[in-house]
């Protein structure tokens, strides 16, 4: 790049490129050309300033066309590439690679979307779609003309991972990482590992004992010399950037452990909803939450006796603390996933012990997806009665029983028998409580974890990048991210382990160069951008005897939120610079006739 840079400077412009651009317009086999006159688009853009080669192709993504582009790049010495085809979500990577292979800087390629955002949206207006495609391609050319050759920042990565939380998710992630040869430091806040599962008895769906499962995992963890397990410990400090974080862990009152890690996996789990006194009779003797009920069942054998009284009738109230839509007063909107299965499963364990116990399940909807359906079917077959209520008219729990009667009374309107009102006597009322986020403000602050509206940690993309967060190198898994049962938690833990290993096993990572940059000449250190960056990527540095803002490239996430807050217009987001946006606006407006 240096000799090109020289040339640029001697020609008086600090930009050596943008003058030899290749433009490829795709028919997409008819998906575009049936609605857009691609030959007219070619005619209209081939003489745009800077365009050296312009072509149409039946499929720009085909091997043959990719080959042709690479040859053109070399033969014509192209320094910019514009591909007008489908959405950048589909082939941006493909064409960046074509550019790279042919020796063209991949960041001087622009994708123009003339399919999803043109031909397919205007199938009813060929002239309008063609006109728009011309504008869009001109916008892309303008953008490429003022693009800069950027190189990803390459950082060496430390082959060690910090796992926060030693529930099933954290333990299983640690094992997965150790098995591929990475070192792991596991930090657990409590004295014991295993999270919720350690305290649960027989689990659905396979009847394995939770405590036994955790003991088995812990044995395997202990057998791995690469895993350091710290209990009674918390992460207190994190610095550095992806690939090379420095973390500080406080164990107990006095011990501090420091480690360098390449990535962090957060597996801090959840709490269960704790209904306030009065909600569904909470506070009355015999009204228990699902975890309380589970512990009660675990503690005994044979016929059920609760607080000295035989249990003959149990009422379950579902969706307590979950799915609180507007009709239910708002709150947690999500379904907690595990509870329908867990409650059905426990009702079957009750039937194992005493088939004569009458069990009533008051529900809004039953969500026993996949194999959990078998639990629901078994529960009904063994005599459980399921009664559906409307969320705007929830069951009412009261306790006006006479002597020798079951203590509690539950009134519910049964939607499935034409709204008949039922009074059910119960010895126990089990509130089937959902999952809620575990308070973890300290950790959120230390790791800059993205928290969703529901209070749970958010991934970049639920389908395509389900365990990564916007903070490079910080991954999430298990129930801290959203309600999951234990097999789902473990599956996501292994996904996080694989994602972490995929990066760290290479030994280096490439960071996207589309970050913010500050022009130190223009910056007058007014101080407004520092607090605007939630990632603390902007720091104050000395510059020619004064202080200016500067972006730490490895920390910047490239959101651009600092750009509009700068009154001196000193900040640009690479790939989206002020000059590029204005050039695109002009390109998009140029008359097409």
């Amino acid at each position: 790049m240096s000799d090109r840079g020289e040339k640029a400077r001697t020609s008086g412009r600090d930009r050596p490129h943008g003058n030899r651009i290749g433009v490829y317009i795709c028919h997409c086999g008819g998906n575009i050309s049936d609605y857009v006159d691609v030959e007219r688009v070619l005619e209209a853009v081939k003489d745009e300033p800077g365009v050296a080669v312009a072509k149409t192709a039946m499929f720009t993504c085909s091997d043959a066309t990719q080959q042709e582009m690479a040859e053109d790049i070399r033969e014509h010495g192209l320094d910019g590439l514009v591909v007008a085809s489908c959405s950048p979500k589909l082939h941006q990577f493909t064409f960046r690679e074509v550019a790279r292979r042919a020796g063209l800087n991949p960041y001087q390629y622009s994708q123009v979307n003339i399919r999803e955002q043109c031909s397919w949206a205007h199938t009813d207006d060929r002239a309008g779609a063609t006109d728009k495609a011309i504008r869009l391609v001109r916008g892309g050319i303008a953008r490429t003309r003022s693009s800069l050759p950027l190189t990803p920042l390459v950082v060496d990565t430390v082959p060690r991972v910090l796992v926060v939380g030693a529930g099933v998710a954290g333990l299983r992630a640690a094992l997965g990482l150790a098995q591929v040869g990475l070192e792991v430091v596991v930090v657990e806040r409590e004295a014991e590992v295993g999270g919720w599962v350690a305290g649960l008895g027989e689990l659905y769906p396979h009847g394995r004992h939770g405590g036994g499962l955790v003991a088995g995992l812990l044995d395997q963890v202990r057998a791995q010399p690469g895993i350091t397990l710290l209990t009674g410990a918390e992460l207190v400090e994190k610095s550095g950037a992806f690939g090379n974080f420095q973390v500080e862990i406080r164990q107990g009152a006095s011990r501090t452990v420091r480690a360098d890690v390449g990535a962090v996996i957060v597996a801090t789990g959840f709490e269960t909803y704790d209904p306030p006194a009065g909600e569904f009779g909470r506070g009355r003797p015999g009204v228990v939450t699902l975890p309380e009920f589970q512990r009660f069942l675990e503690a005994g054998t044979g016929a059920l006796v609760y607080e000295g009284r035989p249990v003959r009738s149990i009422v379950y109230v579902y969706c307590v603390g979950s799915r609180q839509g507007p009709k239910a007063g708002g709150g947690n909107l999500y379904c907690s996933r595990y509870c329908c299965g867990a409650a059905g499963h426990l009702s079957n364990r009750v039937a194992d012990r005493d088939p004569a116990v009458r069990q009533y399940h008051l529900y809004r909807d039953i969500r026993t997806y996949g194999n959990l359906e078998a639990i629901f079917t078994e529960s009904r077959n063994r005599g459980s009665v399921y009664i559906r209520f409307d969320e705007s008219e929830p069951p009412v729990v009261s306790g006006d029983a006479g002597a020798g009667e079951p203590r509690l009374k539950v009134r519910v309107r049964d939607l499935l028998t034409a709204g008949e009102e039922l009074d059910i006597r119960a010895d126990l009322v089990v509130l089937v409580t959902g999952m809620v986020p575990r308070p973890n403000e300290e950790l959120v602050r230390t790791l800059k974890l993205p928290v969703g509206k529901d209070g749970l940690f958010s991934e970049i993309h639920p389908k395509l990048r389900p365990v990564e967060t916007v903070v490079d190198g910080v991954l999430i898994c298990g129930a801290c991210q959203g309600p999951k049962n234990s097999s789902e938690s473990v599956a996501s833990a292994l996904a996080a382990a694989a994602q972490g290993a995929a990066v760290l096993k290479k030994g280096y990572a490439e960071l996207d160069p589309l970050v913010a940059v500050v022009d130190p000449e223009r910056c007058d250190d007014c101080g407004q951008c520092y607090p605007a960056c939630p990632f603390e990527a902007i720091e104050r540095v000395p510059h020619q005897g004064r202080e200016v803002a500067s972006v730490r490239r490895a920390v910047c996430k490239g959101c651009g939120a600092c750009v509009p807050v700068c009154p001196a217009a000193a900040i640009d987001l690479l790939g989206y610079t002020d000059e590029q946006i204005r050039a695109m606006i002009d390109g998009l407006l140029k008359e097409t006739a």
Binding site: R15, P16, S87, P88, K89, N113, R115, E116, Q117, S119, W120, A121, H122, T123, D125, A127, G128, A129, D131, K132, G139, L148, L150, L153, K453, S458, H461, P513, V515, V517, V518, D519, P520, R522, P534, S550, V551, R553, K557, C559, G560, A561, V563, P564, A569, D572, L573, L574, Y576, T577, D578, E579, I581, R582, A583, I585, D586, L588, L589, E591
Partner: protein, 165 residues
């Protein structure tokens, strides 16, 4: 407004510039196309990483250069970068409207709505409504400014290298 260049007659549809976001609203706009939901072809999109990165000056420039309106397809609560993206976007929106007013342009030429990654129909509804409102408003009366006016100087290579250090 000029007649359509294809000679098809009828007044040209208002020109609308949309600022979308790569991960949230742009997929929603893509989905509108994939579902063959039609909207006026005078609508063109520039994608950015996040709504909080829209410079109010770009809104002004777009309208001063010839767009009839700007629509910010915001990522709202779904933003993967910023938990307060909605508040930031609202401030940007306000500043941009003030800028338009200062330059004698109708603040109604800017509209913003959160568009999620599957919000194809809401996008199309917003855009059709906005397009109709702009048609009623009529063309921008102020003379267009020169290309590049009001812009900051290009980000030079030297500066980029600085940013990389």
């Amino acid at each position: 407004m000029p007649d359509r260049p294809d000679g098809g007659g009828g007044p040209e549809e208002p020109r609308i510039l949309v600022f979308s976001t790569n991960n949230i609203s742009d997929p929603g706009i893509d989905l509108a196309g994939s579902s063959h939901l039609h909207y006026p072809p005078g609508v063109v999109v520039i994608g950015l990483p996040c709504t909080s990165g829209v410079r109010p000056e770009w809104v002004l420039y777009a309208i001063q250069r010839g767009f009839d309106g700007v629509f910010i397809a915001a990522d709202g609560e779904e933003c993967g970068y910023l938990s307060d993206c909605t508040e930031r976007s609202a401030r940007i929106f306000k500043r941009a409207q003030d800028l338009l007013t200062e330059h004698g342009l109708e603040p109604r030429r800017l509209k913003m709505a959160a568009i999620c990654s599957v919000c194809a129909e809401p996008f199309v509804d917003h855009i059709r409504e906005f397009s109709a409102a702009l048609a009623e408003l009529g063309p921008v009366t102020a003379a267009p400014v020169e290309p590049g006016s009001g812009g900051s100087a290009p980000t030079g290579l030297a500066q980029v290298r600085k940013g990389y250090e």
